[in-house]
Every structure is written in C-alpha cells, then in structure tokens.
C-alpha cells in the first residue's frame, strides 16, 4: 500500500443520561468518547466540536506523515490545507440536529416536539385522520417519521418524473 492510501478509523460512543433537574423537569445529557483506532488514543467530550477537533488533529498528523521528506515546506502546507478543506466540508455536513442535541438538548427536544406537533397537525388537516390521532409521543414520532419518509420518497419520485418529462419534451 502506498503512503498516500493510509487509513484513519474513528470510533464514536455516545452515552445518553436522562435525569430530572432541580426544578423536577426531565432533561437529557449526552456524553461521548471518540477513539482513534490506529493510534489507540481517545478523547471524552460533551461538545461535538471537541470530537471534530480531535479528528482534525489526527488527520493533520496523518497527512503530514504521508508527505515525503524531500517536499518543500510550502508544498507541505498546500497539501495540508487541501486535506483540511476536505475534512472541514465533511465536518460541516454533520447533521445539525445531532450537534444541537449535544449543545442544547432541551431546546433541541422542544424544537423537535414543535416540528412533530406541526407535522401531526398537517396530517390531521390533510388526511382527516381524527380517529387515528396518536395517543402518545412515541406514536406521534413514528407517524411523523413515516410522513417524513413518504415526503422524501415523493421528492425523489418527482425528480425522476421531471427527468422523464424533460426527455419526452426533447424527443
């Protein structure tokens, strides 16, 4: 295997802690651990940013170690910058919900509940499923997930139909 093909693997562990705060309100906390497999090093974190920084640090080391020793400092810097740009793009695409859940679980849960209520409202309005109104949050979530999946499928179908439509139009 060439030096350019080196691999870095990371293992993420999240532990959820549910508890009641001083006011007796239900709360949730996430604790994380990230392990760099090839280096057998780890970092505990409660903010996802710390995990991302840890990955970035390990990837920089990997990139630097892969660069031949006879490469000039300027070239090294260029390769490292490119490598980090790719990583930053990847890190940015992390689901916002996950980051939010770790940063501010309470706000995130409230936001999620609001979305669910709104989705449930839409379902009732559009489909008039009064008799199937969900009885608890778990049912509500399941129903909402199914609607989201359907929306996604419909979106994909629409794209396909648009493509076919275009083709037909051309011919």
């Amino acid at each position: 295997m060439s030096k350019q093909d080196q691999t870095s693997s990371f293992l993420l562990r999240f532990t959820q802690k549910m508890f009641e705060d001083e006011k007796g309100e239900a709360n949730v906390q996430w604790r994380g651990k990230i392990t760099h497999v090839q280096g057998n090093e780890h970092k505990n974190f409660s903010e996802l940013k710390d995990a991302i920084d840890f990955i970035q640090e390990k990837l920089s080391t990997l990139t630097l170690s892969s660069i031949e020793s006879d490469v000039s400092e300027e070239e090294k810097e260029g390769i490292l910058t490119k490598s980090m740009e790719i990583w930053k793009r990847l890190a940015k695409s992390y689901p916002k919900m996950m980051v939010q859940a770790i940063k501010d679980p309470k706000a995130q849960v409230a936001q999620f509940q609001e979305q669910l209520t709104s989705k449930a409202g839409e379902i009732s309005d559009r489909l008039q499923l009064e008799s199937y109104r969900p009885t608890n949050k778990s049912d509500l979530k399941e129903l909402s997930d199914q609607v989201l999946q359907l929306t996604d499928i419909i979106g994909k179908l629409k794209k396909k139909v648009d493509k076919i439509d275009k083709k037909i139009g051309k011919s």
């Binding site: 295997m1 093909d5 691999t7 693997s9 293992l11 562990r13 802690k17 508890f19 009641e20 705060d21 001083e22 906390q29 604790r31 651990k33 392990t35 497999v37 090839q38 280096g39 057998n40 505990n44 974190f45 409660s46």
Partner: protein
C-alpha cells in the same frame, strides 16, 4: 422473552467442556485443541489474523475471499497470500488433514469461507450468552442472574484481542464487548451491594478500569462504602467522580449522584 433457568447455565458450561476447539480472546489470544494449548505453530501472523477475522465474522454469512482480502490486506493481497494464510490455519487446527480433504473448521462455498462454530467454544460468545441469561432474569430471578453475571465477569480477562488494538477490523467487536463487560460488572455490583459490599467495590473498580468516567460505578461504590460504615471513603469516591467528570467532559455529576452525596453527608 425466554424464561431462563439453571439448565441454560449448565448447557453453556457443558458446551465449553465438550468443545474440541476453545478460543480465548480476552486479555490474550489463546487456543486449546482437544485440551492441548496451541502456542506458536502458526508460522505467519497473517494466518492468526485471518482466523481472528473469521471469529469476528462468525455471525455473518460466508465471506468472499476478495472481501476478506480487502479488509485484512487492505487491497494489497494476491490469491497466493490468502491461500498461504488459510493453509496456516488448517495446519494448526487440522495438521493431519489431507491437502484436498474437507476441513472440519473451515467451511468453503465456492470462493466464500466461514468458520464452522459447531466445534468451537469462544469466550466472548459465552460471555454474551451468560449476560443474556443475567439480563433476562435480573428482575424475576435475581439469584439466577447473579450466577450468570458471575460467569460472565469471570470470562472477561481484559481487552478483546489486545495485540490487535491498532487494527480497525477488530475495533467494533472490541467496543461492543467492552460495553457488555461494563454492563456485567455494574449489574453484578448492584446485585452484590447489600450482601457483599466489598465485592461490589471490587466490581465497580473493574468497571472503572474499562471506563473511568462511568458515573453509575461511582454511585454504587459510594453506597457500598456507606454500607461498610465508611463515610470518608464514600465522600472520597464522590470527589474522584466529580474530578474525573470535570476533567474529561467539563461537566458536573448528575443530580442522582449529588443527592446521594447529600444523603451520605446528612446520614
């Protein structure tokens, strides 16, 4: 849910006693074939790696050799490399097997291979089975759960395949087994708390070796010290918990832990 009883534990112990090939993966990799330890007959390390890879993939369907080579050699292997490693396994497990004879342990379907677990006892698999009995009987049959957890923790002798910690094909299995071992230590420590507080302390110490930030382990340990009438040690345990959480996560202990401290201080 299956209702477990003593016969399930006996069946697991019998399976271990009867197995032709016993594989030990916790703390140190070791094999015993018909009661004889196999130490250094492997020749190449890749043969051991291939065997360990088959162990980890035991619950999957047979794997194509290309898939195996991709994971183990990271795309640099030739068919010859694979053959040599496979021959290494057969040489160790079935030294009397004829060159083209069927293998008892290695199942082949075309170019796909799988380890036949019928004749194999694996410590990590046994630990999972004991844990399953423990977890399913802890509420209704705590005495049975206690025995099952004891067998489970006795099997855990340390990290899974410790000489492969840098190999990413072992990391998922290692993580899973560490979490299971942690579960076994904590569950057993809770069951032992009232009758055997010192054993409970020992078990939570083992759990904290696996993960020094496991807050539940500190809480059980604090309670065990209080049962022993050792309030200063209980407070010391709390301090260690608070310091570790602060250092590792930058957070405070959970309200349950703080309330426990309060009870300890006012008791």
């Amino acid at each position: 849910m299956i209702r477990f009883d003593d016969s399930h534990i006996e069946a697991l112990l019998e399976a271990e006693a009867k197995a032709e090939l016993k594989v030990y993966t916790f703390g140190r990799f070791n094999l015993a074939l018909n009661g004889q330890q196999i130490s250094d007959n492997w020749g190449r390390d890749k043969a051991i790696q291939l065997f360990q890879f088959f162990l980890i993939s035991r619950n999957r369907s047979a794997l194509h050799k290309e898939q195996i080579m991709d994971r183990l050699w990271e795309g640099t292997a030739t068919d010859q490399n694979f053959k040599v490693a496979l021959h290494g396994i057969n040489k160790v497990l079935e030294p009397d097997k004829k060159a083209r004879g069927n293998s008892k342990f290695m199942q082949r379907q075309g170019s796909s291979y799988k380890l036949n677990m019928e004749y194999v006892w694996l410590d990590s698999q046994a630990m999972e089975s004991f844990l399953e009995i423990g977890n399913n009987s802890v509420k209704e049959q705590p005495e049975l759960a206690l025995i099952a957890y004891q067998y489970a923790v006795n099997l855990y002798k340390g990290v899974f395949l410790p000489n492969r910690i840098y190999e990413d094909w072992t990391s998922t299995e290692r993580e899973k087994l560490q979490m299971l071992a942690l579960n076994a230590y904590i569950s057993l420590a809770e069951l032992e708390l009232k009758e055997q507080p010192n054993e409970s302390i020992r078990l939570t110490e083992e759990a904290l070796i696996i993960d020094p930030t496991w807050e539940e382990a500190y809480r059980i340990q604090m309670m065990a010290h209080m049962i022993n009438g050792n309030r200063p040690q209980a407070i010391k345990t709390f301090n260690k918990c608070r310091d570790t959480l602060k250092q590792e996560f930058g957070i405070e202990p959970l309200p349950d832990t703080l309330q426990l401290l309060q009870r300890i201080q006012t008791a």
